[in-house]
C-alpha cells in the first residue's frame, strides 16, 4: 500500500473515532431519566474509572462530595460533611443506572433534595459565574463533565459493605 493511502486511512479512522466519541456523549439537555430518576446509558459513552472517581469525589474544586457526605475509609479527606447520608454501601443499595441518575441530577430521584445537580446547565435563579458573585450566562458549564460523572459513579459502585 502506498504510504499516502495509509496516512489517509489513519486520518479517516481518527476522524471517525472523534465523531463516534462526540455522538456517544449525551449532552445535559438530552439526558433521559427513567421514572425512578435513573439513567440507563453512560453519559460519556465510556466506562468510568473508579480510581479517578475517588479523587473527584474528595476534590474541593470538582466533585466536592465530601462537603456533605462521609465514607468511613476516606481518612484522606480531612473533613467530611454530615448533610447527606454516609455513602458506605452505596454500591449495594443502588444499581449503577440509579447512581448515575443521583450524581447527574439527584432531584430526579429525591424531589427537593438539597444535593446539587451536577450535570445541569440552566433553569437557575440568579445563576452566577462560578464563585465570583457576578452573574453567569446560561447555559452554564456543568459542574462535572460526562466522563467525571461516569468516574464518580464507577467509584460509588465499588462501595460495598
Amino acid at each position: 500500500m502506498p504510504r499516502q493511502a495509509v496516512v489517509s486511512a489513519v486520518a479517516v479512522f481518527a476522524a471517525l473515532a472523534l465523531t463516534w466519541g462526540a455522538a456517544a456523549e449525551i449532552a445535559s439537555q438530552d439526558v433521559i431519566f427513567a421514572d425512578d430518576g435513573s439513567i440507563a446509558q453512560s453519559l460519556s459513552g465510556q466506562a468510568g474509572d473508579a480510581e479517578q472517581g475517588a479523587r473527584i469525589y474528595a476534590d474541593k474544586s470538582s466533585g466536592n462530595c465530601v462537603a456533605c457526605h462521609a465514607i468511613a475509609d476516606r481518612t484522606d479527606a480531612e473533613f467530611q460533611g454530615t448533610i447527606g447520608p454516609a455513602l458506605d454501601g452505596a454500591g449495594d443499595r443502588w444499581a449503577v443506572a440509579q447512581l448515575r441518575g443521583i450524581v447527574a441530577d439527584a432531584k430526579q430521584t429525591f424531589p427537593e433534595s438539597m444535593m446539587p445537580s451536577l450535570y445541569k446547565t440552566s433553569g437557575y435563579v440568579r445563576p452566577g459565574d462560578g464563585f465570583t458573585g457576578k452573574s453567569g450566562t446560561e447555559p452554564l458549564p456543568t459542574l462535572l463533565s460526562a466522563q467525571q460523572i461516569e468516574d464518580v459513579v464507577a467509584y460509588l459502585a465499588t462501595l460495598k459493605e
Partner: protein, 286 residues
C-alpha cells in the same frame, strides 16, 4: 423480575424522598458569661410565633463555634472586636462635616443608643425600610453635612459595632407587622429561594441542617444578633450584608449588592427569626 426490581427501586426512592433533614441541637446551651459575670447572655430562646413548627428553639451561633472562639467572646479584653467599638465611640464624639457637629452634639452619650440595635432594621417615617447604616448616614448627610460612609467601610462597621454594644443583652425585637409586613414577606421569599447553580436556599443550610457539618463548617441557625461580628479568618468586623453576600456567592449565584433593598428585606426577615435572642454584638466567629 424487571418490574420487581423497578418497584423496589421506586419504593426505596419514595422512602428516601422525604428531604433529608437533620436539625441537631447543640450539646450544651450554657449562657455566655462575660467579664466574669458582669453580663450573662442566654444562648437559647423560645421560637417566635411566626416560626412555630419550623424551629423547635432558637440557638445562638456562639454555641456552634469551637471552645477557643467561644472563649474570646467571654472577655471584653480578649474580644478583638472591642477595639473597633472604641474606635466607633471616638468617631461618635468627633466633629465632622460642614455643620460642625458630632453624633454626640445631638444624641449626647452613646448610651442613648440603647435599644436601637434590637429593633433594626425598621420602617422609617417615610415608609422605607432602613438598616442602622441608613440611619447613621442620614444623620451624617442631613444633620452634620458630612459625607455618607461606605456601607462596608471600616468607619461604618466601627460605628454599627459601637451602637450595637449599647443593646447587649436586650432581646432582639424587630417589628414584622404593619408597614414592615411587605418587606418581611419579601425577605421571607428570599430566605426560601434556592439561588445559584448549587440551588441552595438559606433554609437548606440554616433551617434544615443546623448542627450538621458542611465540610469543616459547623452550621448554625444563621442568626444576626451577634452582628457586626469579628471574624478571625478575615481579622476584621463583618457586616450583615457582607455575610449575606458571602453565603449567596457560595451557592454559585449572582449575589445582591450590600445596601440593596433586597438585603434590607432579607436583614429584616433574618432578624425576625432571631426575635427573643439577646443582642450579642460584637460576637467573635472564626
Amino acid at each position: 423480575m424487571l418490574t420487581q426490581i423497578r418497584l423496589s427501586g421506586l419504593a426505596m426512592a419514595c422512602l428516601m424522598s422525604l428531604p433529608a433533614m437533620a436539625q441537631t441541637a447543640p450539646d450544651a446551651t450554657d449562657p455566655i458569661i462575660i467579664n466574669d459575670g458582669e453580663l450573662q447572655l442566654e444562648t437559647v430562646a423560645s421560637t417566635p410565633e411566626h416560626l412555630e413548627g419550623v424551629l423547635p428553639e432558637l440557638y445562638s451561633g456562639w454555641l456552634f463555634r469551637d471552645s477557643e472562639t467561644q472563649a474570646m467572646q467571654t472577655d471584653d479584653f480578649e474580644n478583638p472586636g472591642m477595639i473597633f467599638v472604641d474606635q466607633g465611640i471616638d468617631d461618635w464624639n468627633m466633629v465632622d462635616g460642614n455643620a460642625g457637629k458630632s453624633c454626640a452634639s445631638c444624641h449626647e452619650g452613646i448610651e442613648s443608643m440603647k435599644g436601637v440595635r434590637a429593633s433594626m432594621p425598621r420602617v422609617n417615617g417615610d415608609g422605607q425600610l432602613w438598616s442602622m447604616e441608613d440611619y447613621i448616614n442620614d444623620c451624617r448627610v442631613e444633620r452634620m453635612q458630612a459625607e455618607a460612609l461606605d456601607w462596608n467601610g471600616d468607619r461604618m462597621k466601627n460605628m454599627t459595632a459601637a451602637i450595637s454594644v449599647q443593646s447587649r443583652g436586650m432581646p432582639m425585637d424587630v417589628a414584622i407587622d404593619g408597614p414592615a409586613r411587605p418587606f418581611w414577606e419579601q425577605g421571607k421569599d428570599m430566605y426560601y429561594t434556592r439561588y445559584g447553580q448549587l440551588e441552595l436556599a438559606c433554609a437548606n443550610c440554616h433551617e434544615d441542617h443546623y448542627g450538621d457539618w458542611i465540610r469543616a463548617d459547623h452550621l448554625s441557625q444563621g442568626h444576626t444578633n451577634g452582628f457586626p461580628v469579628y471574624r478571625l479568618k478575615q481579622a476584621a468586623l463583618v457586616s450583615q450584608h457582607n455575610r449575606f453576600r458571602g453565603c449567596i456567592r457560595d451557592t454559585r449565584a449572582e449575589t445582591f449588592p450590600m445596601g440593596s433593598d433586597e438585603f434590607r428585606a432579607l436583614e429584616l426577615y433574618v432578624a425576625s427569626r432571631g426575635n427573643g435572642l439577646p443582642v450579642e454584638g460584637v460576637s467573635v466567629r472564626h
